[in-house]
């Protein structure tokens, strides 16, 4: 009976971890998306310092979740986002709006791809 209770407890713990992971990841991705839009808006209005600061903040936000990302996300996804953030920072420093736009769109695509893969839906299950 003890083993079965432990098994049931393990299953419940895994379901709880799934719920937590879903919420945490959604909050992170939403923060990243919002930050990318803010950086783009700043670049659009040629507030390059603000754009740079936002790009650096985005990179810092992603870096602060590095441990979480390594445990829960695929390495290829982590590298892709890091690469796009680097491109965004470079574009902001170089005051290159088209490059900023491209980087932000790329970031939205990659974050959306992570969201689609990690979200529980018919599409991701099948």
């Amino acid at each position: 009976m003890k083993k079965e209770l432990a098994a049931a407890a393990l299953l419940l713990a895994i379901f709880a971890a799934d719920l937590w992971n879903g919420r945490h990841l959604e909050a992170l991705l939403a923060r990243m998306d919002a930050g990318a839009d803010t950086a783009l808006t700043a670049a659009e209005t040629e507030h390059w310092q603000e754009a740079c600061a936002e790009a650096v903040s985005l990179a810092g936000c992603w870096q602060s979740e590095a441990d979480y990302a390594r445990v829960f996300l695929r390495q290829s996804d982590i590298d892709a986002v890091a690469e796009t953030l680097s491109a965004l920072r470079g574009a902001a420093v170089g005051q290159d709006y088209p490059a900023c736009l491209s980087a932000v769109l790329s970031l939205h695509t990659r974050l959306g791809s992570i969201r689609d893969t990690e979200k529980l839906s018919l599409g991701s299950v099948f």
Partner: protein
């Protein structure tokens, strides 16, 4: 800028270390899961347990083949599978209906010496397979078979006719003492103190028995056991 050769070697060493640690973790996890499921031999696995065993090995290998996949992607399915298996085993123990649903029920393929053709075809068991399984049980003459039962784990159990079964000591009127269960006292030089305690024996008794047989210490003995009738089996270690 090209990475330095020294750095490349460092990166490869880290990869090897990651593979090594992941493999050990996965191995320990699977070992714990299979141990907790409680079966030791493949032949004793029920259908769902066999499925779980096969799945677990495939799933757990994923993060070993691709370091880009998080280790949790291999371990979480393993934990879920064995937890579900434990719960299914418990439910099948509590509910005969559930057990029948998951594992089916044994099928009688031969009764009173007659082959039940309908049961054979229902279980997709050919006559050749039946004869093969019977030969595996040491039965070559179908006339000696009373019942043949196909169990839920796929094994075939055979009950011979009474006149074809070897006679027992009680049928022959022969008195035989109960041999009892042999209990190990020394295993590879190590004294099984728990077993000694269980049998109410002391270390001094053990040393006395060893001395009687020409040994001075338990470390010289490879295996020693004591059966219920007081018989001792002892084998010493080979000289190095």
């Amino acid at each position: 800028m090209k990475p330095q050769r020294g750095n490349l070697i460092g990166l490869e060493a880290d990869r090897m270390a990651v593979i090594t640690v992941r493999t050990i973790i996965v191995f320990l996890c699977i070992l714990a899961a299979m141990r907790l499921m409680g079966k030791r031999q493949l032949g004793q696995l029920e259908l769902s347990e066999l499925v779980v065993a096969v799945l677990i090995s495939d799933l757990a290998a994923m993060p070993l083949q691709d370091l880009g996949i998080p280790l949790l992607n291999g371990l979480v399915p393993v934990v879920i599978l064995f937890s579900c298996e434990l719960l299914i085993s418990w439910l099948s123990l509590k509910s005969p209906g559930f057990r029948r649903l998951c594992f089916g029920k044994p099928s009688i393929l031969m009764r009173d010496g007659k082959i039940l053709a309908r049961e054979l075809s229902k279980n997709r068991f050919s006559l050749d397979e039946l004869c093969e399984e019977l030969r595996g049980k040491g039965v070559t003459d179908l006339r000696t078979v009373n019942c043949a039962i196909l169990e839920t784990d796929g094994t075939l159990n055979v009950l011979l006719r009474a006149e074809c079964q070897p006679p027992t000591a009680s049928q022959l009127g022969v008195q035989t003492p109960e041999p009892g269960l042999p209990t190990a006292l020394i295993s590879d030089g190590q004294v099984e103190t728990a077993n000694l305690r269980l049998l109410g024996l002391s270390q001094s008794w053990l040393l006395q028995e060893l001395k009687r047989r020409g040994y001075t210490a338990p470390e010289q003995v490879y295996y020693m056991n004591l059966d219920g009738a007081g018989g001792i089996y002892l084998q010493g270690k080979e000289p190095k």
